[in-house]
């Protein structure tokens, strides 16, 4: 088990709003701030577009961690989208707890487009968190990948 955890490279999906989180990721890039490559971004117009089902489907597809990143509270480009997203993330966390996957594999973050550093921090924080938690109970990828390597 320990071996697996050490080799374990989590797959993490980040749903990012266009106006802040995605722009912050761009800035992290232009500022060359390094973070682990485990995070893969899905661009959405607003974090308020994140559907409970997107989050569940990601876990169903064996993601080890998922997070939603939107504008800072009170400054959503679409006024209230990030607050709606926050509620949905809370709800899906409770569903993940019920199912036994664990709500801590899902998180909501807020940041501004000038916070490239923060974007990298979040990516690190989430990668470390998921690495510590180990693979998602649903994740069967590890055996597949092991076979390839």
């Amino acid at each position: 088990m320990n071996q697996i955890t050490e080799d374990f490279e989590p797959q993490i999906v980040a749903f990012c709003c266009r106006y802040c989180a995605y722009a912050a990721a761009d800035l992290a890039g232009s500022s060359r701030i390094q973070y682990p490559p485990n995070v893969k971004i899905v661009l959405l117009p607003c974090s308020g577009k994140v559907d409970e089902l997107y989050l569940l489907k990601a876990f169903e597809a064996e993601a080890d961690g998922v997070y939603v990143a939107g504008c800072l509270e009170g400054t959503c480009h679409f006024l209230t989208g990030n607050l709606r997203a926050k509620k949905r993330v809370q709800y899906v966390k409770s569903l993940l707890d019920e199912v036994g996957i664990g709500g801590e594999r899902l998180e909501m973050y807020n940041l501004s487009s000038a916070e490239g550093q923060r974007f990298a921090e979040i990516a690190r924080e989430m990668t470390e968190r998921i690495r510590a938690l180990g693979p998602s109970p649903l994740n069967q990828r590890k055996s597949k990948e092991g076979a390839i390597k």
């Binding site: 722009a23 990721a25 390094q34 490559p37 577009k49 559907d51 000038a114």
Partner: protein
């Protein structure tokens, strides 16, 4: 009443103005000078309403000073977040020709027809080739101080000003370049794989014909070296507020870690010194923004480190804008920021620690000294570096401070016809005021050039779109090296090889720079050659680069929505530079995700929706009349509705402004123009009764009271609506108001002065109390105009009787901008200003009772309180012979809380107040007590808010869509705001905002059709169960349940956020371009591996 044409959607070409297009003699183009927030706003508004714009900016990027700000007050909105999309809009707008690094050389001609020459400076880089990859920057050996970071960081002689710069092109600063200085180097030339470096580049003179010119050259912050007493430049830990802004910024030189320059330690004690370069002997004006930005920076410093102590040395806290006082109160109460009412004369450094000592006066306790780790100089706003040369070229006279001070009744006009002025060029002001003025200038320029509207704009046409709906996906994948930016880390060939294996991929290539001009041209051919129907560009960020490739697709006959980007640079090679193998793996995954999504993309078309080109303006005060005229002059029909029988609103009660003009004359002349204007349809005694529809196509029912007492209803169709419902004087029973004829409001005093000032000659003592009905618990906002009103009237009283003693009891004197001059003048003439605070409120003893301000403890008070009856015009008024007013009986005193009526005070008017410098209570028996009462919204604002679905603040003022950048728009599209209905303001500000509302409305009304569709939400009416969820969650109030009983989302109003789609319980709403079947496969493909 001539009332023709309503009820029909008229074709734009039928409108007057455009009929003259063929024979037009005016030029349908405008030169905007200055690419800051004001210049950008004016450019966008004009380009969006049918005019060609040349935007000349002296620096190599647009965005102006705002690009250097971290956050903005009072919402702490990130400046970059709100500004970057705006800059991209400017760059993408086909009707704006961006002339950066350019200055005006010569202007000839007259309003309607100018010939301008613009000098575009040599950048030594061929921008048509430069992709902003910055490879040259990393190799350039010439390190220089970074101007963008206010000298706190380092950059290179060839550089991009900042990461989000628009245009994203590098410039060589000749004065620092080793090659130019020493004759050798040329490293940049060697590393540039696109051959973009051009050391032979020369300045270019560009000639353009324009019909109007808008000047928005902005400002420079005060150079603190000129105040040596504060040690800037000598003491490392004395920084300017703009430098501190860079230290706070996450994108700044310290990555958002606040460090003091001497030792990079976190400061624990910070001082702000206000009014550095403002309100002094050399700068007799107030810079208007420093109190608020210092408060913002203090709050942000606290948020970075809650243990830091922040003191702000301040004379008056000038929080006069919407939501500003609330922000200030939070700074004090929530963040514990200390405001010290003193202006220190110097800063001293302790040489060992480099700490700073500030000596200040504290009440009667005398001088105290405080030690700080960091001192921030809140530097004022001075004239822009090009203001002088620009005004000389146009023969415009600047004021004593170097600003162009315009006529208060024509705030956006210069002395030269066809030349309009906005932004800090005319007076220090904050961002929303600048944006307002810019939109106003756009409206005026459009009015001048109405006949030439549409004559020079380009409408790009593309070849017919190929129908790909029946085709299997044939995806073309373009993998970019970005020089070595991507290829230096990611194995691009491996990624390309991998892409070939993905389902649906028909063509793959790698490019040195996919965005390079020739590659983009070739992409067109590749699309045709390989019959591609989806494009994936695997390169950098879609936020800046998608439009370029999408346009290429359109040129090749492909719908631009069949496009997807995999960001393998910003999200991969740049951030995983030390893990090339993992980065290559991730790049493959990102490409796989994009290909999976691309396969499910569908073409989307925008379709033209007809619209009504008329406007409805509600409210016939100065704002409403000004807005109506600004629209009618542009050729639009306007329905102007006023519920009273007379135009003018509250301005009918104003008689003079500082500069001596008569608002009454303004009202008269506006009213005459409105009544005579053939395109303005005036409805007096009329109110808005019903309102429905969406932007471009509203339908309103007006209700008019007729002479016979019966009403009539009038139906109007219109494309936009402007709310100009005004405000009224607060008339609460504070300080004994309405109990004694000697107690007046400022407006009542103004009426006395104007009607018969001589009766006031005998006046000896006058007390004015500020903030009556403002800045209280019940009404926490500042009414903005009362300080100016008090100073103005005090000066008038001094003119009438120079011997009069005038005491102004105030909390803060908020005579911002050039008004400061009059505050100084009032003090010079002996007007005595005495500060009070909430712990020491003045007290008025009259007619046997004691009165203070109304207590604000009862939160329901506002609804229940009755406005006290104002004095009637014919009330007896005599000086020195006070009479108790008839209704001041003992009976009415009961329940006031103070029943200890004392006979001795019966005849006299007494004001008791605390004098903080003497530390004593003083008592005066003035002949006049003048209450500076605030502004409250006019009656019926709540009902109007409901009717229009236009939100209001808790103070009852209409809420703009964004306090900084959309100050006249309402979130619900097609509704615009101006005047007092938005917030208390001076006449010149109302006029500018009214013109701005007209300018913004014109961006809609001038369109032949509204282009709607694209990535917006759509309801599947078969699935909808009319549960109202979407109606309740939409932040823009767009969804309605229609007559068929299903939700309907107006395509013109939908903002495309997708919130409703994620909430719909029956999944009946989908956001085009972000369909579930486009998002979910993207996620699944990542996790499933090869699909």
């Amino acid at each position: 009443m001539n009332f023709s044409g309503y009820g029909t959607v008229r074709n734009f070409s039928e409108m007057k103005g455009t009929e003259l297009k063929e024979s037009s003699e005016k030029t349908g183009a405008v030169l905007v000078v200055g690419g800051g927030i004001a210049g950008m706003q004016a450019s966008l508004d004009l380009a969006d309403s049918g005019f060609k714009v040349y935007l000349a900016e002296k620096s190599p990027f647009i965005g102006g000073k705002m690009t250097q700000l971290d956050k903005t007050f009072p919402t702490n909105d990130c400046a970059t977040c709100i500004l970057t999309p705006r800059m991209v809009d400017v760059a993408e707008n086909k009707n704006i020709e961006l002339l950066v690094y350019s200055e005006v050389e010569e202007i000839k001609g007259y309003g309607g027809n100018f010939d301008v020459k613009i000098r575009q400076k040599a950048t030594y880089v061929d921008w048509s080739k430069c992709t902003g990859c910055e490879e040259c920057v990393s190799k350039c050996p010439a390190k220089i101080d970074d101007e963008f970071n206010q000298g706190l960081g380092r950059t290179k002689a060839i550089s991009l000003p900042f990461p989000q710069a628009v245009p994203k092109k590098v410039t060589i600063k000749r004065e620092f370049c080793h090659f130019f200085l020493k004759g050798k180097c040329r490293v940049c030339e060697k590393v540039c794989q696109l051959g973009a470096i051009d050391f032979d580049d020369q300045d270019q003179i560009i000639e353009r014909k324009v019909g109007a010119i808008i000047l928005a050259p902005g400002y420079e912050v005060y150079d603190a070296h000129h105040s040596p007493e504060f040690g800037f430049g000598r003491y490392p830990n004395v920084v300017t507020s703009l430098q501190f802004e860079r230290l706070l910024s996450a994108a700044g030189p310290t990555g958002g870690h606040v460090q003091r320059p001497s030792d990079s330690q976190k400061p624990k004690r910070i001082a702000f010194l206000q009014c550095v370069g403002s309100r002094d002997q050399d700068h007799g004006y107030c810079s208007s923004v420093c109190c608020m930005y210092a408060t913002k920076e203090a709050i942000l410093a606290k948020e970075h480190d809650p243990d830091v102590d922040v003191d702000i040395y301040i004379m008056d806290m000038r929080a006069f804008g919407k939501g500003y006082d609330d922000y200030y109160n939070r700074a004090v109460e929530e963040y514990g920021i200390r405001y010290i009412r003193c202006r220190p004369s110097a800063i001293k450094e302790i040489p060992q620690s480099k700490n700073l000592l500030i000596k200040y006066q504290e009440g009667r306790e005398g001088l105290r000294t405080e030690e700080y780790d960091l001192a921030i100089l809140s530097v004022g706003l001075g004239p822009g570096s090009s203001s002088l040369s620009l005004s000389q070229k146009l023969d415009l006279q600047l004021n004593e401070y170097g600003f162009y001070q315009s006529d208060p009744f024509q705030p956006l006009l210069s002395d030269k016809p066809g030349v309009y002025v906005c932004g800090v060029f005319t007076e220090p002001k904050d961002i929303p005021e600048s944006v307002i003025q810019a939109s106003g200038c756009a409206a005026l320029a459009a009015g001048l050039l109405a006949e030439a509207r549409g004559s020079l704009v380009l409408e790009k046409t593309y070849p017919p779109e190929k129908d790909v709906s029946a085709e299997e996906p044939r995806i073309g994948v373009f993998v970019c090296h970005c020089g070595s930016n991507i290829a230096g880390v990611v194995d691009v060939n491996q990624v390309a090889e991998y892409a070939r294996s993905l389902p649906g991929v028909a063509y793959v290539e790698t490019d040195l720079f996919t965005c390079a001009q020739d590659t983009v041209l070739e992409m067109r051919e590749k699309i045709k050659e390989h019959n591609l129907n989806r494009i994936v560009v695997s390169a950098c960020t879609p936020l800046t680069h998608a439009p370029l490739f999408q346009e290429t697709m359109q040129e090749a006959g492909l719908n631009p929505y069949l496009f997807e980007m995999a960001n393998i640079r910003n999200q991969c090679s740049w951030v995983h530079a030390r893990e090339p193998e993992k980065a290559t793996e991730k790049a493959k995954e990102l490409v796989r995700m994009s290909v999976a999504r691309a396969a499910h993309l569908e073409p989307l078309t925008k379709f033209p929706m007809p619209l009504n080109h008329d406007a409805l303006v509600v409210g016939g005060g100065i704002s409403g009349m000004t807005a109506s005229l600004a629209l009618a002059d542009q050729g639009f029909e306007v329905y102007l509705v006023e519920r009273e029988g007379r135009l003018g609103g509250i301005a009918n009660r104003l008689h003079y402004v500082f500069e001596n003009q008569d608002p009454g004359e303004l009202v008269t002349s506006l009213a005459r123009k409105v009544e005579e204007h053939p395109r303005i349809h005036l409805y007096l005694h009329t109110e808005l009764k019903k309102f429905s529809g969406f932007v471009g196509n509203f339908r309103s029912i007006l209700s008019r009271r007729t002479d016979d007492g019966a009403g009539e209803e009038i139906e109007v169709e219109h494309g936009a609506i402007i709310v100009a419902t005004g405000g009224q004087e607060y008339l609460g029973p504070d300080y004994g108001y309405s109990r004694d004829v000697r107690i007046l409001t400022q407006l009542e005093l103004e009426e006395k002065i104007a009607s018969n000032g001589s009766v006031l000659q005998g006046i000896k003592d006058v007390v004015m109390i500020q903030c009556v009905g403002s800045r209280t618990k019940v009404r926490p906002y500042c009414s903005r105009i009362c300080c100016g009103e008090a100073v103005k009237n005090a000066l008038r009283l001094k003119e009438i009787n120079p011997e009069a003693r005038i005491f102004v009891l105030y909390k803060d004197i908020r005579t911002y901008g050039f008004m400061e001059k009059y505050y100084t003048e009032a003090r010079e003439k002996g007007v005595i200003f005495v500060r009070y605070d909430d712990e020491h409120l003045p007290e008025v003893i009259v007619a046997g009772g004691r009165f203070g301000p109304k207590s604000g403890s009862n939160e329901h008070q506002r609804e229940t309180e009755k406005q006290a009856a104002p004095h009637t015009q014919d009330m007896a008024f005599s000086v020195g012979q006070p009479e108790p007013t008839g209704h001041s009986t003992a009976a009415t005193m009961q329940g006031r809380g103070e029943t200890s009526a004392s006979e001795q005070y019966w005849d006299s008017l007494t004001v008791r107040f605390y004098e903080p410098i003497l530390d004593e209570m003083l008592e005066l028996h003035p002949d006049l007590l003048v209450l500076s009462t605030g502004v409250v919204p006019s009656e019926g604002y709540e009902e109007l808010s409901r009717l229009l679905k236009a939100p209001i603040t808790q103070d009852g003022f209409f809420l703009e869509a964004h306090v900084k950048l959309r100050p006249v728009d309402v979130a619900f599209e097609g509704i615009f705001l101006c005047g007092l209905s938005h917030y208390p303001k001076y006449i010149h500000e109302s006029i500018a905002q009214a013109q701005a509302a007209a300018g913004r409305a014109a961006t809609i009304l001038s369109k032949k059709f509204l282009e709607v569709g694209g990535a917006i939400a759509e309801v599947d009416s078969e699935k909808c169960v009319a549960c109202l969820t979407c109606v309740r969650v939409c932040p823009y109030y767009v969804p309605i349940i229609n007559v068929e009983g299903v939700a309907q989302i107006d395509p013109a109003a939908c903002q495309g956020c997708g919130i409703c789609t994620a909430e719909c319980p029956v999944r009946a709403i989908s956001l085009r371009h972000y369909l579930d079947e486009q998002i979910i496969p993207k996620v699944e493909s990542l996790l499933a591996g090869v699909v």
